[in-house]
């Protein structure tokens, strides 16, 4: 039993790491621009399919490096054209727009690539298990965790030590003052959005290697990201990190005892958090009133 538990907790952490990647991107965009990006799952799909399309030419590693920035560029274009006009308005509108965008992306992908699922080729050595004992940990999963760790570290370095990062953090707290200080807020929001979408694209490449490609693959990953943010606390990136890992582990644990509820449990967690500590684990009071 302890072995089963240990296995599942470890597994939960791995799954949680993936949620973290998605949720962080979503959180970045939410915190600075007050936009709930319903199309985040769609950008994951775009990232995955771009990787699928270019892998035959530059291989898996090439795709890993190139697909996320390409996705981010698409994100930049979307932000500039579709989302920028909505910044002053009620958050309802950006919600609706990204919602519609998600439809377009899903259908567009189906139109271009077909409804059929597509396999993604990953390097052979990654497809194997680490050992016979730990058979459920494949090298690919460890690789995913490694990528997430690197990405998260780079993100935090960006936010703490670069000018862009400091401005983003300042903007999250008080955008008006930042604008008053003469910083180009439009550019800031665009770049912030691009970083968020980069993370979504990266998630897409990783997901494609793990699950294969399908036009509908983004929708199932969107909700856990929301929940990670709510549980961790809106406005707090470390919170989102903790939230993602927590729901991954919770899901894994539940799968041992009550498999049918392993997805529902993250909603229950969210409900509990909202009841007991509405601002989330690391959220600050009044962040999103």
């Amino acid at each position: 039993m302890t072995q089963l538990l240990l296995f599942n907790v470890t597994n939960g952490l791995i799954v949680g790491a993936f949620y973290v990647l998605m949720a962080l991107g979503l959180s970045l965009i939410l915190n600075l621009s007050n936009v709930i990006n319903f199309a985040h799952g769609g950008f994951l799909v775009i990232g995955g399919y771009i990787a699928y399309a270019i892998t035959p030419y530059i291989g898996f590693w090439g795709a890993l490096l190139v697909a996320p920035p390409l996705t981010a560029i698409i994100g930049l274009a979307v932000e500039r054209v579709l989302i920028r006009p909505l910044y002053g308005r009620d958050p309802l509108y950006s919600l609706l727009l990204t919602f519609g965008l998600a439809f377009i992306i899903e259908d567009g992908t189906r139109f271009i690539f077909g409804a059929q699922g597509k396999p993604m080729t990953i390097p052979a050595f990654l497809s194997q298990s680490v050992s016979n004992e730990l058979f459920f940990i494949t090298w690919y999963r460890l690789f995913m965790v490694a990528v997430v760790v690197v990405a998260v570290t780079l993100l935090f370095v960006l936010l703490r030590y670069t000018r862009l990062g400091i401005r983003i953090r300042a903007g999250t707290l008080d955008l008006e003052t930042v604008a008053a200080l003469g910083i180009n807020v439009q550019m800031l929001r665009s770049l912030n959005f691009a970083v968020g979408i980069y993370l979504a694209g990266l998630s897409g490449v990783l997901a494609a290697g793990q699950l294969g490609l399908e036009p509908t693959m983004g929708t199932g990953l969107l909700m856990p990201s929301f929940i990670a943010i709510i549980v961790g606390g809106i406005g707090s990136l470390p919170g989102t990190l903790a939230g993602g890992l927590l729901i991954g582990v919770a899901s894994g644990l539940t799968a041992v005892f009550f498999p049918a509820a392993s997805e529902a449990v993250i909603y229950v967690m969210m409900a509990v958090v909202l009841l007991i500590r509405p601002r989330g684990l690391f959220g600050e009071e009044g962040m999103m009133s």
Binding site: I36, L97, G100, I104, R110, L274, L275, P278, S289
Partner: protein, 317 residues
């Protein structure tokens, strides 16, 4: 009566005449009665949402949950309790309303983006319950094995099961009933307070209005109406399924309200009519109808944020 009032009365009369005669003028135009019934039911749902969204200024993006609860309430009643349509409707309304009241208490302190996210998440909780509790709800396959029962008025039976037109008029009657109550509430002091909160919440608070309590009541009322719409929907299909609870359904309702015009009482009905008819038409013509619907969302948000009625009203001014 002033010209303004006469004009309003004329418009109102015109709307009802169009609605009452719908089964007759729709058919030559390539419509069919079931489409009109669907427009009414989804229009009622959109109007229920707008009660909260347009008139109180509160964004709930998980409202389909109460729509679905209404549907399941009605379905379960018809399947397990009694073969009575009115009882099923009441059960659906109560189930949705009570859940709304309970949940509302938890979330009214939040606003804006956070509130929206929380309503989405709670909506999904209900979706999962419907999905997983398959012994009760039929899970992914949905709740079936029930159908709307003829209305027994003692003297005669009004067959709403096999007669499409009869069913349409029944739904129209329910629709009118719900609208009457909604309109009454909106015209009352409570309704005025809701609008005040929408316009400027802080000022309303300064005036001593218990804002959270008002929002909670508005939320609960909108859930009751939503449940009514959901129960009717279960009767339309003789079916209830989890997809009616999903946040994508909520998105559709919000879109209808926005597209028709949130500030107008009849706006969401117009939005629902356009949306349902468009979706019905597009999905027959092309497999890629989803792109067009998504495009519609994007275009409405960018160019017609006040909706069709808002646009028309502004150009008149």
């Amino acid at each position: 009566m002033s010209t303004e009032q006469t004009r309003k009365l004329v418009v109102l009369a015109a709307i009802w005449i169009i609605l009452i005669s719908a089964p007759y003028w729709m058919v030559p135009l390539g419509g069919y009665t079931a489409l009109a019934t669907r427009v009414l039911v989804l229009g009622l749902a959109a109007m229920s949402l707008n009660f909260l969204l347009g008139f109180t200024g509160v964004l709930s993006f998980g409202h389909a949950a109460y729509f679905g609860l209404g549907a399941y309430g009605a379905g379960l009643t018809l399947k397990y309790l009694a073969a009575s349509t009115p009882l099923a409707l009441i059960a659906g309304i109560m189930l949705a309303g009570i859940c709304g009241a309970l949940l509302g208490m938890l979330i009214v302190r939040r606003r804006g983006v956070y509130f929206a996210m929380v309503t989405i998440a709670f909506g999904q909780v209900f979706y999962y319950i419907a999905f997983q509790w398959s012994s009760l709800t039929g899970g992914d396959d949905g709740l079936r094995g029930f159908s709307r029962q003829p209305l027994d008025f003692g003297a005669f039976k009004f067959d709403i099961l096999s007669n499409e037109k009869n069913f349409y008029f029944f739904v129209l009657f329910c629709f009118a009933l719900a609208l009457g109550i909604m309109g009454f509430i909106l015209r009352s002091p409570f309704g005025r307070t809701m609008i005040a909160i929408r316009e400027n919440e802080r000022r309303a608070r300064f005036l001593g209005i218990p804002v959270e309590r008002h929002i909670w009541i508005a939320f609960t009322l909108s859930c009751f109406f939503m449940g009514f719409a959901g129960a009717l929907y279960a009767l339309v299909n003789n079916f209830a399924d989890p997809r009616g609870l999903h946040y994508s359904q909520s998105g559709d309702f919000v879109m209808m309200a926005v597209m028709g015009g949130m500030r107008n009482f009849w706006g969401p009905l117009l939005g629902a009519a356009v949306f349902v008819v468009l979706q019905d038409y597009l999905s027959s013509v092309t497999v890629n109808w989803m792109s067009f619907v998504g495009l519609l969302f994007v275009l409405v948000v960018l160019f017609f944020p006040r909706g069709l009625l808002g646009f028309l009203q502004r150009s008149k001014a």
